[in-house]
Symmetry: C2
Subunit: 397 residues, 2 copies
Amino acid sequence: MSSPSSAAPPPPPAEQRRPGPVRFGIMGCASIARKLARAMLLAPGAAVAAVGSRSEAKARAFAEKTGLLLRHAPRLHGSYEALLADPGVDAVYLPLPTSLHVRWAAAAAAAGKHVLLEKPTALCAADLDAILAACDAAGVQFMDATMWMHHPRTAKMRELVADKATTGDVRVPFSHMKGPQDNENGYQARKINSLFSFRANEEFLQNDIRVKPDLDALGALGDAGWYSIRAILWAVDYELPKTVIALRNPVRNQAGVLLACGATMYWGDGKIATFNCSFLTNLTMDMTIVGTNGTLHVTDFVIPYEEKSAAFNMASKSKFAELHIGWDPLPSKHVVSTDLPQEALMVQEFSRLVQNIRDAGGKPEGKWPAITRKTQVVMDAVKTSIDNEFGPVDISS
Amino acid sequence: MSSPSSAAPPPPPAEQRRPGPVRFGIMGCASIARKLARAMLLAPGAAVAAVGSRSEAKARAFAEKTGLLLRHAPRLHGSYEALLADPGVDAVYLPLPTSLHVRWAAAAAAAGKHVLLEKPTALCAADLDAILAACDAAGVQFMDATMWMHHPRTAKMRELVADKATTGDVRVPFSHMKGPQDNENGYQARKINSLFSFRANEEFLQNDIRVKPDLDALGALGDAGWYSIRAILWAVDYELPKTVIALRNPVRNQAGVLLACGATMYWGDGKIATFNCSFLTNLTMDMTIVGTNGTLHVTDFVIPYEEKSAAFNMASKSKFAELHIGWDPLPSKHVVSTDLPQEALMVQEFSRLVQNIRDAGGKPEGKWPAITRKTQVVMDAVKTSIDNEFGPVDISS
């Protein structure tokens, strides 16, 4: 028997063979990927093992600029194929233009990589289904990169919106009410509004991938609209609306890509939501929920004004003061602090799910692809309504 | 010639015959009239000369409860006719149920009384036109009692919304844009949302005049909806929309009165507005304006949270911070103080206009009836769209 020092050690048991952080491959060096690179440097449980771009030089420049090269020394790949062939990559973060998602996200899953996919996840639900089927077949985790879902403020808002005793909704069995809302479970009076816009400059409006029909053909709907649709679904606990009707007068560029649009959604029990998304008006990120008992206002729901703390306003059982000369009680402001920015919390949560699969034999968490799919289905319905002269589009659940 | 002390003095010149405050007659003792009685006690230039109700006992009880009896010692009339026949009344404040407006507001004008009319001013624009024609014929001032119009906060918001250099809109002559918004004056990207709801209790939903088809047949549309429509018109400097489309699934009571509804409005140059009004959800009074350069949020636009100061938030040229991890600059909060509550400022302004006519030979101010009429025209269009299965209703300007 040779001495331990001179012979190769026996392989460690399987559960120790790939210990430690999830090894990410960043697939494409879009501007948004810089933010995610920083998040991967911050997030416990994550490491950047590789960067892949259409050339190694691009990958290197990105790795240098983001500090990854110095901190995580990732392998640099000059093609997406090479990144997917890298056995040292557990998961890919994929910020490519939407038109490339179905090809490369499915390829990543087929290569056994877990998939963290930028939004909009696909050009249509059928494309998304191909991606999700590939992830299912490979047993890998899927999550879309909707960062605000992971901010602790979002959890706090959920808690209050769900609290029927104070701020939440109650279903109202109004005996004296009639109309299409008649529902054996009672009427749900909840109203939701979301606005997401930013004012793109001329450079963006001429050259950004989000105004190019061959790259991000969904334009403002796929970009800003994604967040508003997600916010609305979040606000109703992911119950799909029954009917979607697009607002009229959407704005398109000369190539036909949407620069501004919106829609109203109707649920069978009376809930109504409206959103507007636009590249043409001042940066605005509103979600407003008005229920029977309470009102929630948040004006920076996608990206909080500041990184370390985020606020929202909640009113509960608001009444007029005597003679209607004021309100009593007043709404209250809630502030939620966080040590890690929301994108790092997203990477941390995704990594936790991947580690559970990779290291502990767990199964992929189905909640995330289900939420993604509902968002995409509603987006499809908005697009169909726009294409059908703003007629109602029914969603079969 | 008799001595001055023993003979009746000669009548004073006409301009001195009725000096001093405008002498109001309060015509009807609705709950809202208590707030206005207080406003008339507070407002410079106003005095309550008479109270008229369906019985003198009711008029007396109201005058006692509001402190008017002690402070202004008004004459008490047991009928509206008697109030209108009172030569010591210059102007009436008329808070009767809407179905009675056309009769009594027109009668007041015919009796030479200036008219401060509660909203909704009429059941339809044709009825309002009859009232306005009577005011015109009599040369009396007309104003609707939309109090928030007179808060100094409203003036401050107007100033900022109109300031093209910082927060206001610019019309965008996008050469790369196409769609129904093509307009020789350029595209207007402005979006406006308004929500006004309060959660009525069972007593209200069974017995309030606002749920009775023979009293206030417009229900939530005439009550809360009035304010949202006014807010939207205010936000576009009273330009009438081209097309109005009601939201689906309005809620009615068994008698057919609207308890919740809404609509979207479209202008020819691209502006879009949406409102929801409801008796079924928590007290909420939102107006949000998003323009090319700025975003305005106010969440208590109809009745400020507190009487002595009112706030709103305004963002100007908001951008993302580097890496999109926050905003720069942040929105700013504006606080506007007022010594007099908005309803007293309204009474003061109305009194000033009446004094100008009564004491200085001036003409009625046409701005106020014009704004009222536009509000009523849009309300009619919403109602027509609801009645026509939510089809588009064009407004001819």
